[in-house]
């Protein structure tokens, strides 16, 4: 823009003279600025605004020269920048108000639309949260994107301390490297022992990760010492809160960790959730200080042993270096180690990958990422189906609002404005659905977490499936996106042609037919999928029921379990046995206890023992192979406590101690297999390397999972094996809440250093172990998704039928005017819904049949073609579909023939 010189002539009146080039630039800028305003505003007042601005510009150029023109532009800019947003806001408010009023007028539609979105979004968001925890959620440390994992590809994947130090020395590519070895430990505070997972860490663990202390201090490396061996303990923040209530007074207190005294020196920061994404690590000790780490050797000797591969290793890349460079450098060092220590490091091949690829371990990482990717794909599909469903619903509504829209268009509302209002409405629905989804997801995730934590295993799994701000924000963003996309469909449909005309012609255009078919296919697919999921769910539920009724070989009702691990305290055999027997004496004497016994690994748990068994002498066939039998280590009263029937011979007793001849009791299956038609009592059995004399036979039972074929089992006396950990089985009529404290007390009186854990009824053990957990999980997941599928399918069907009813309003009116009764109309509309339902169910049955092979191996005692299950599910779906069609049918019947006839 250029004003003419200081001697401004009056050329404002003759714009064509000289200043035309400057003016057109000014005009372009002005027009661009005008675009800041909303569409409607521009359409109404744009021309005037231009006129006014032009007049102002002319006056300024005429009377004030360059300075006046410049100050005018500044004024205009400032004015537009403050006014335009306000106008946009005003339009938004109007649209929102309109949207909410429209939704209030149609509560059924609004509720089903919001529900659809909420269901779809909670499923998708839940999956996203799981995927996030596995693949994306960064470690809660400083600059987590710099952290890489170093592990061995061949053999043991962790690194020894010495190897770690060698790799750590690659300071040209790495800033530093740390190691962590998770261990079970018993922690005793104020006499109460608890089993926790602790991390044995290298000295630089906290300093490299940049983790500070929330209270006290954390373990810090010291230049003067090769490694720290002070018995100090750093608590995790979560454990500090849950066990100690966040009391700052615990700092400086001495506690016993697996029997050795440790001092609590501090608490890690609240933000830090550890470097193990799936474990709940409650405390950290220096690796050098943990007695157990040395396993009775000279202190620190484990550090020098390069074959003691204990540490999960994380390293920080030096800024500016890539992982490929680090890998190359580390490979060189690994090759050097292979040359120096050929006997132990010959096959060393390093895996250097980003930390996010190694959850939960470097070996399982890739698999889990694959599963997570599949889950993300599934989430995307769910979202797509949800959006399509929402679009369907909106279309149904649009069909019935065609007249309203035509009216408004006739009254002067611009197309763009109408589209925006439709989109605003669907975005409102989407956001409401998204907001509703958030508490659903949080609840579901916490249940899932609790579910997983209940799994009986050596460690407590604690995946961080929390729904944090990032997940919520992305969920809402997706909701808005879905809302916009879903809202455009009906808006454009309504406006594409004269809506009224399209209604009259019942939309028989080609594109109409195509999109109509697409939507029908969607509804049918949803019904089919729901059937498949529900049938699977039903089959799993019935399997679970069967499983609970299977003869287990013992009576689980009335059994209470309590586990202890004296091996954690490095007790020797004799001390362990005396511990077990002392506890047994105390517990057997408790009131209400019928019988009590120890068993190393209760049957049907996640962990169990087995052995290769053969009769002594072995059969002479050349290709005879010893079968694998379950191996259970028990105290004499076990069969009484478990109510397992002894068929022959005698139970274990005081004769069967350490040093005495080795004995065993076998089950019927094994007896019949090795000594058919004879008594096995007195004969000899070889289990792995031990030769045992058989003293008795007990009834068969289930040992690994409830669906197994009858297998052999050999029982051995605990006194002769002295396992490191075992579970006490107590036959009592008292409830857990009642007898639990007494049990813990008995343990404590014998040895307070030993942690007692998993005090629970046998049924809980079965529910969370291999017995019932897989069925429970499968039944839960399929039923959940099946239920959601049914709801979505019902809503989709409702939308479908409502849409068609809306399009046929006139026709229905005519028929009713000509004498058709309500029943005829009902039959007509309901038969539409029934047709969808029938096709969907048919397809679903075929789909389920196809999956039957897959399901076969997972079910128990029930056929994948079980007719009762199919019948029930099909009936349920049919009824649901009929109900979904009922609402639009009722509306169809309510059509006033006159109004319908009097169309635009």
């Amino acid at each position: 823009m250029s004003a003419t010189g200081p001697s401004t002539p009056k050329d404002g009146r003759n714009p064509s003279l000289g200043a035309s080039r400057g003016r057109s630039l000014a005009e372009r800028v002005m027009r661009a600025l005008l675009r800041l305003f909303p569409f409607d505003f521009r359409a109404d007042h744009g021309r005037e605004l231009e006129q006014t601005l032009r007049a102002q510009y002319r006056d300024a150029a005429e009377h004030g020269g360059v300075r006046a023109v410049l100050s005018l532009w500044m004024e205009v800019l400032g004015d537009f920048v403050t006014t335009a947003p306000r106008e946009h806001l005003a339009v938004l408010k109007q649209d929102l108000g309109y949207a909410f009023r429209a939704l209030r007028r149609a509560p059924v539609f609004a509720a089903s639309a919001v529900l659809t979105l909420a269901l779809g979004m909670s499923a998708a968001t839940g999956m996203v949260a799981v995927v996030d925890a596995v693949m994306f959620r960064p470690l809660t440390v400083e600059r987590p994107d710099e952290i890489v994992s170093i592990s061995n590809r061949n053999g043991a994947m962790w690194l020894s301390w010495r190897d770690l130090q060698d790799y750590r020395a690659a300071t040209n590519v790495l800033t530093d490297a740390v190691g962590l070895a998770p261990r079970s430990a018993s922690l005793i505070v104020d006499g109460a022992a608890e089993r926790i997972a602790i991390g044995l860490v290298t000295d630089n663990y906290f300093s490299m990760l940049g983790v500070s202390a929330a209270a006290g201090r954390v373990i810090q490396p010291e230049k003067s010492r090769a490694w720290i061996d002070d018995p100090v303990l750093v608590l995790s923040y979560a454990y500090w809160q849950s066990r100690f209530g966040g009391d700052a007074a615990v700092i400086g207190r001495t506690v016993r960790v697996s029997g050795a005294p440790f001092t609590i020196i501090g608490v890690a920061s609240a933000r830090f959730r550890g470097t193990e994404p799936l474990l709940r690590v409650s405390g950290y000790v220096p690796a050098g200080a943990f007695e157990q780490f040395n396993e009775g050797r000279a202190p620190g000797s484990s550090f020098e042993d390069r074959t003691w591969r204990m540490f999960a290793t994380l390293a920080r890349l030096k800024p500016g270096f890539t992982i490929a460079q680090a890998r190359a450098e580390l490979d060189v060092r690994a090759a050097r180690l292979a040359r120096e220590f050929p006997s132990t490091h010959k096959d060393v091949s390093l895996r250097v990958v980003p930390e996010t690829h190694t959850r939960p371990t470097p070996e399982l990482g890739p698999f889990l990422r694959l599963a997570a990717t599949a889950l993300a794909g599934l989430a995307a599909i769910v979202l797509l189906i949800t959006s399509a469903n929402l679009a369907n619903l909106l279309m149904a509504r649009a069909a019935s609002r065609g007249r309203e829209v035509a009216l408004r268009a006739a009254l002067g509302a611009r197309r763009g404005r109408i589209v925006r209002q439709f989109v605003t409405e669907s975005v409102v629905i989407a956001v409401l659905g998204g907001l509703l989804a958030i508490p659903i997801v949080m609840f579901a995730m916490s249940r899932l977490r609790a579910f997983i934590a209940g799994v009986t295993a050596a460690f407590t799994f604690d995946p961080d499936f929390s729904v944090d701000g990032r997940v919520i924000a992305s969920a809402l963003a997706i909701a808005i996106g879905a809302g916009v996309v879903a809202g455009l469909a009906p808006a454009l449909w309504v406006l594409r042609s004269d809506a009224a005309a399209s209604l009259r012609s019942a939309g028989r255009g080609v594109t109409e037919r195509f999109s109509g078919r697409l939507r029908s296919a969607l509804v049918v697919a949803q019904v089919a999928l729901s059937l498949t999921l529900l049938v699977s769910g039903g089959l799993f539920v019935r399997s679970l029921d069967r499983a609970r009724n299977i003869e287990l070989g013992f009576d689980p009702d009335g059994l209470v379990m309590a586990s202890a691990s004296p091996g954690l305290l490095s007790y020797d055999r004799a001390k362990r046995v005396s511990f077990y027997e002392a506890v047994l004496d105390r517990v057997a004497a408790l009131p209400g206890v019928e019988a009590a016994a120890w068993i190393q690994f209760p049957p049907l748990g996640v962990v169990g023992d087995s052995a290769e068994v053969s009769p002594d002498p072995r059969p002479s066939e050349p290709d005879w192979r010893p079968p694998i039998a379950a191996e259970l280590v028990v105290t004499p009263d076990y069969f009484t406590a478990a109510r397992t029937r002894q068929i022959e011979g005698r139970p274990f007793d005081d004769r069967d101690r350490a040093g005495a001849p080795l004995v065993a009791i076998i089950n019927e299956t094994l007896a019949r297999r090795f000594w058919p038609n004879q008594s096995p009592v007195g004969r000899r059995l070889v289990a792995d390397t031990a030769t045992l004399e058989i003293i008795g036979v007990v009834q068969n039972g289930k040992y690994q999972n409830v669906g197994e074929e009858p297998r052999g089992a050999v029982f051995r006396p605990l006194a002769q094996i002295a396992p490191e950990m075992a579970t006490l089985a107590v036959r009592t009529s008292r409830a857990l809440a009642d007898v639990g404290p007494d049990l813990r007390d008995a343990f404590r009186r014998v040895d307070p250093d030993v942690a007692v854990f998993d005090v629970r009824p046998m049924m809980a053990h079965l529910d969370n172990g291999s017995a019932f957990f897989p069925f429970r999980l499968a039944a839960f997941m399929t039923s959940l998704f099946g239920a959601m599928g049914v709801l979505l399918a019902a809503i989709g069907l409702y939308g479908m039928v409502a849409f068609q009813v809306g399009r046929r309003t006139q026709e229905i009116g005519v028929r009713m005017a000509l004498g058709a009764g309500a029943r005829d109309i009902y039959r007509d509309v309901l038969s539409q819904g029934a047709r969808f339902a029938a096709i969907g169910i048919g397809v679903g049955v075929l789909l389920s049949g196809g999956l039957a092979q897959l399901l076969q191996g997972l079910l128990l005692g029930i056929s994948p073609f079980d007719p009762l299950t199919y019948l029930l599910v099909a009936a349920f779906l049919a009824i649901t579909c009929l109900v979904a069609s009922f609402v639009p049918a009722r509306r169809a019947v309510g059509v006033d023939p006159l109004t319908a006839l009097r169309t635009d």
């Binding site: 109404d44 007042h45 005037e48 605004l49 205009v76 006014t83």
Partner: protein, 121 residues
């Protein structure tokens, strides 16, 4: 003039809105004329931006305080057709009510000797 609840519902007016209504009180004007008059009457202290003005006009039209009248060429400026606006009776009432409201505040301030009474001319 008795103040009814409908008129009251528009109060208080923003200063630019009041200026605009007052500017129209003595006859129809187009947008630029409103801006110029307000600038002139306030000695350049109140400079209404074009965007603000038309936002006000839009709101006021929607609220029924002003209406658009027939366009007629402004002979002073190149025969361009401009839109003229007129104050509606409701608009008059609302402007007057706002002035009354301001007057009562001014009177209160005077009683408290916050501002001096004008010397009677």
């Amino acid at each position: 003039m008795p103040a009814d609840s409908r008129t009251q519902s528009f109060l208080p007016l923003t200063p630019p809105t009041l200026h605009t209504l007052v500017a129209l009180a003595d006859g129809d004007k187009h947008g630029y004329a409103i801006i110029k008059e307000i600038a002139r009457r306030t000695d350049g202290r109140v400079r209404l931006g074009a965007g603000t003005l038309y936002a006000i006009i839009r709101r006021a039209e929607a609220d029924g305080l002003i209406v658009e009248t027939d366009e007629r060429p402004d002979i002073a400026l190149d025969d361009e057709r401009r839109r003229y606006y007129r104050l509606t009776p409701l608009g008059r009432k609302v402007a007057a009510a706002e002035i009354e409201r301001l007057e009562s505040i001014v009177e209160m301030a005077r009683e408290k000797k916050l501002v001096p009474r004008p010397k009677s001319v």
